[in-house]
């Protein structure tokens, strides 16, 4: 197995699937300013996806570029964590999904910035600034919604109950992540969990939200076992390059 390729795909696919979903908010946000904000975050995610997938293509060395990887892989070839493919739902669902991811992305990018691979470190350094801003945004909204009205509190508590079981996938460890730590080019995500937990508990207390009781976590994205949503998402995202395989755009 090309562990470096696999590892980079995971990074790229998380960003790609989140970016794809955030793009759906453009024009449909709760207020104009927030429309612009969600699109900005989506743009950062797409930018990160392009960087990671390009690097993944290089690591694979089969001539696949970012678009080949994004548009011509089937569902089982995608390596994003299950959390990222949770549907947008309402604004609170999107904010919770983004917050749970951002709280992982911040320690992830900090660790990746220490990579012994200069290309990985460079992308991570740029991404770290973006994810720090994303966390600031999603955290502030989680607090506003959690400690807002009774309705918003209930809604966003339900979002959290719904999303949290899918977050465990972010911390999945296997021979790919072991290779990353052994060879020094990336962290094992399971080592990021303590940082993530700290951000989570601090934010939930400020937002007056309850940590849902632990339930079995949903795992599978890193191995290409996905939820129902991903196939729909890919069908939409990939429609043009798949319909016109010879075309350039």
């Amino acid at each position: 197995m090309n562990t470096r390729f696999e590892y980079l795909l995971r990074l790229g696919d998380d960003a790609l699937i989140l970016g794809q979903q955030l793009g759906l908010w453009t024009g449909h946000g709760p207020v104009l300013e927030e429309d612009i904000a969600l699109t900005n975050i989506g743009l950062d995610q797409i930018g990160q996806a392009r960087a990671w997938l390009s690097l993944a293509g290089k690591a694979e060395n089969q001539g696949r570029d970012e678009d080949r990887l994004a548009f011509h892989r089937n569902q089982e070839g995608f390596r994003n964590a299950l959390l990222c493919e949770r549907p947008n739902g309402h604004f609170g669902d999107t904010i919770v999904r983004q917050f749970l991811f951002d709280a992982y992305a911040v320690p992830l990018h900090a660790a990746l910035a220490q990579s012994n691979d200069a290309e990985i470190a460079a992308i991570a350094l740029k991404s770290a600034k973006e994810s720090a801003y994303h966390l600031r945004h999603s955290r502030a909204w989680l607090v506003r919604l959690g400690d807002g009205t009774e309705e918003s509190h209930e809604k966003v508590q339900a979002s959290l109950d719904l999303m949290l079981p899918f977050a465990g996938d972010l911390f999945f460890s296997d021979e790919v992540t072991t290779a990353a730590t052994d060879e020094g080019w990336g962290p094992d995500p399971s080592d990021l969990r303590a940082d993530w937990e700290a951000i989570l508990s601090d934010t939930l207390s400020e937002a007056q939200l309850r940590r849902p009781d632990a339930v079995p976590e949903q795992i599978g994205g890193r191995q290409g076992r996905h939820t129902e949503q991903l196939s729909f998402l890919l069908a939409e995202m990939q429609v043009l390059p798949r319909t016109y395989p010879d075309a350039k755009w």
Binding site: V31, L32, E33, A37, N40, R136, H137, A140, R144
Partner: protein, 95 residues
């Protein structure tokens, strides 16, 4: 019915180190933190700024146009405040 307008904020951006903040426009935000974030996304998408001020529009006191003459005309005849008022011999350079 919902008739709760988020307050209006006036936004000032410092475009580069060393320049002063300049008014760029306004936006709506529920709180100060959101005003700064929204200003960042609305008014600095193309690297237009290095610093943001967000000020609740209701906190700004403006001079009235009716007072324009009273406020500003008295400065008209104080030409001696400008360096060009003073004729100096050419031999004096750079003063």
């Amino acid at each position: 019915m919902e008739k709760q307008h988020w307050p209006l904020w006036e936004i000032f951006i410092r475009s580069r180190q060393g320049l002063s903040h300049r008014h760029v426009g306004s936006l709506h935000a529920a709180d100060a933190e959101m005003a700064i974030e929204n200003a960042r996304d609305v008014y600095t998408r193309r690297q237009e700024g290095v610093s943001i001020w967000a000020i609740p529009a209701t906190e700004i006191t403006a001079s009235s146009p009716d007072e324009k003459d009273v406020l500003f005309d008295p400065a008209d005849d104080k030409v001696y405040r400008h360096p060009t008022f003073y004729d100096l011999p050419d031999e004096v350079k750079n003063m």
